[in-house]
């Protein structure tokens, strides 16, 4: 189908975009458009005005400085996927992005758009949450920052106010040599995941886990940090039994059930996927806990 008619606005600067968003009724921001335009084509969404961020200067780019990583909201997913800076400092982003849609959608889709859209099955909000990233927002009253783990508040709902724009994500650089793992289950590669898990692991003295961060997605209305699994890993060596015990923490969650997968199936999936993500994270820091996890 074709979208309902709308007024198209292409601001060149951030302040102009914020002013338009505040002034226009029933306006939507257009970032990469890989979800929004599809929804407009179906007339699931019918905005009266589109504020296109693609011409706004200064919203894209990947930068490392002062031990922090900053990714501009309009940075294309494909540019993050192939970025040498990401490969060096935060490779979990690239591992996850291989599962985000397809090459053509990643060429247009942006990280800020993915966060603002907040699909429960989306990979990038989960990857931001597991990195303890913050989401930077700009609005009529200035800028503010929200923890990525608190940014998605409900089904396709975020902490951003209607007149606010996601401008960047920022995070401390994970320590060099950290382990990372990502696993998801989708009916076909590139489809929305039925469930997924990602993990970051940092080893400390004596090979004991110093830091562990674990996130599940596709199981709740927002990415879910699994504190019980993180605590189960911390202070211990990475072993097969330890990983399976940590992954078993996923049994306590109450996943969403829908026509694509029941709650029980999703609960089963995330436990298996989390174990795989943790096993891969261990392997990447030189700890082979054996297969079959």
């Amino acid at each position: 189908m074709k979208p309902q008619a709308f007024a198209y606005h292409a601001p060149r600067g951030l302040n102009e975009a914020i002013a338009l968003l505040a002034r226009l009724d029933n306006a939507k921001l257009l970032a990469g458009g890989q979800s929004l335009v599809a929804m407009m084509n179906f007339r699931v969404v019918a905005p009266d005005a589109i504020v296109d961020l693609n011409g706004v200067a200064g919203l894209d780019g990947i930068a490392v400085g002062g031990e922090r990583l900053r990714i501009g909201a309009m940075t294309r997913q494909r540019d993050i996927e192939v970025s040498p800076l990401i490969a060096r400092h935060a490779p979990l982003f690239a591992a996850a992005l291989a599962h985000v849609g397809h090459r053509q959608t990643r060429n247009r889709g942006t990280i800020g758009g993915s966060l603002a859209h907040a699909d429960p099955a989306a990979e990038l909000p989960a990857i931001c949450a597991v990195h303890d990233a913050v989401v930077e927002l700009a609005g009529p009253r200035g800028t503010r920052r929200v923890e990525a783990r608190d940014f998605c508040t409900d089904f396709m709902t975020t902490a951003a106010a209607p007149e606010e724009i996601v401008t960047a994500i920022e995070m401390a650089l994970p320590p060099r040599g950290h382990g990372f793992g990502f696993a998801e289950f989708a009916r076909r590669h590139g489809d929305f995941a039925l469930a997924g898990a990602a993990a970051l692991v940092v080893l400390g003295a004596g090979g004991m886990v110093d830091r562990a961060a674990v996130v599940l997605f596709g199981v709740a209305h927002a990415p879910l940090r699994l504190a019980q699994a993180e605590e189960a890993l911390r202070g211990r060596a990475l072993t097969r039994a330890g990983i399976l015990a940590a992954a078993a923490a996923a049994r306590a969650i109450t996943p969403i059930g829908d026509m694509h997968a029941s709650a029980d199936f999703r609960r089963h999936l995330v436990e298996v996927l989390l174990a795989r993500a943790l096993r891969d994270a261990a392997l990447r820091i030189g700890v082979d806990v054996g297969g079959g996890a």
């Binding site: 189908m1 074709k2 979208p3 309902q4 008619a5 709308f6 007024a7 198209y8 292409a10 458009g33 890989q34 335009v37 599809a38 407009m40 084509n41 179906f42 589109i50 296109d52 693609n54 494909r78 849609g101 397809h102 090459r103 053509q104 959608t105 060429n107 247009r108 590669h189 590139g190």
Partner: protein
């Protein structure tokens, strides 16, 4: 309704038109410019039939408004063959290796693989499968398409050597 002046190049030819904001790039190419090589399948970014290059990068033309292509260089399947009609190496390989049957997905496959082969001079079959993961074909079973892509890569490398 909002009307917008758009100036862009398609296959190297400059075009200036005034269009409604809601017209997507695929419909603009087909209906406004008459370039019907770009096919429209699902209109929600799943089938890949409408894939074109915008500034050299493959995109879904159904998920981009034509007004967003203002000032850009678009390449469609009509831009692949030489001026005399001679097929480019990828098109020739599709013909040779039975990379198409009904031809509906073919323009999208060709544009996706054009970008891919520019970035990957010596691809593996697995990489080709990954590259066309976002393009649906209901005829060939993909085997001919993958064979064609691999043959085209070898041909391009040989011609360039």
């Amino acid at each position: 309704m909002s009307e917008h002046a758009v100036t862009l190049t398609v296959n190297g030819v400059a075009h200036a038109r005034t269009i409604e904001g809601r017209v997507n790039l695929a419909d603009f190419l087909r209906h406004t410019l008459g370039l019907t090589g770009t096919h429209v399948g699902c209109e929600h970014g799943v089938c890949g039939a409408c894939t074109v290059l915008v500034d050299g990068r493959s995109v879904r033309a159904c998920l981009m408004f034509a007004v967003q292509a203002d000032g850009r260089a678009v390449t469609t399947v009509e831009g692949l063959a030489a001026a005399d009609g001679g097929l480019d190496p990828l098109q020739a390989a599709f013909r040779e290796h039975h990379g198409l049957q009904c031809g509906f997905c073919t323009p999208g496959m060709l544009m996706t693989l054009t970008e891919f082969l520019r970035e990957n001079k010596t691809p593996s079959a697995a990489q080709v499968r990954e590259a066309i993961g976002g393009n649906l074909c209901r005829c060939t079973g993909y085997a001919g398409i993958i064979a064609a892509a691999l043959a085209a890569a070898r041909r391009i490398a040989a011609d360039g050597a």
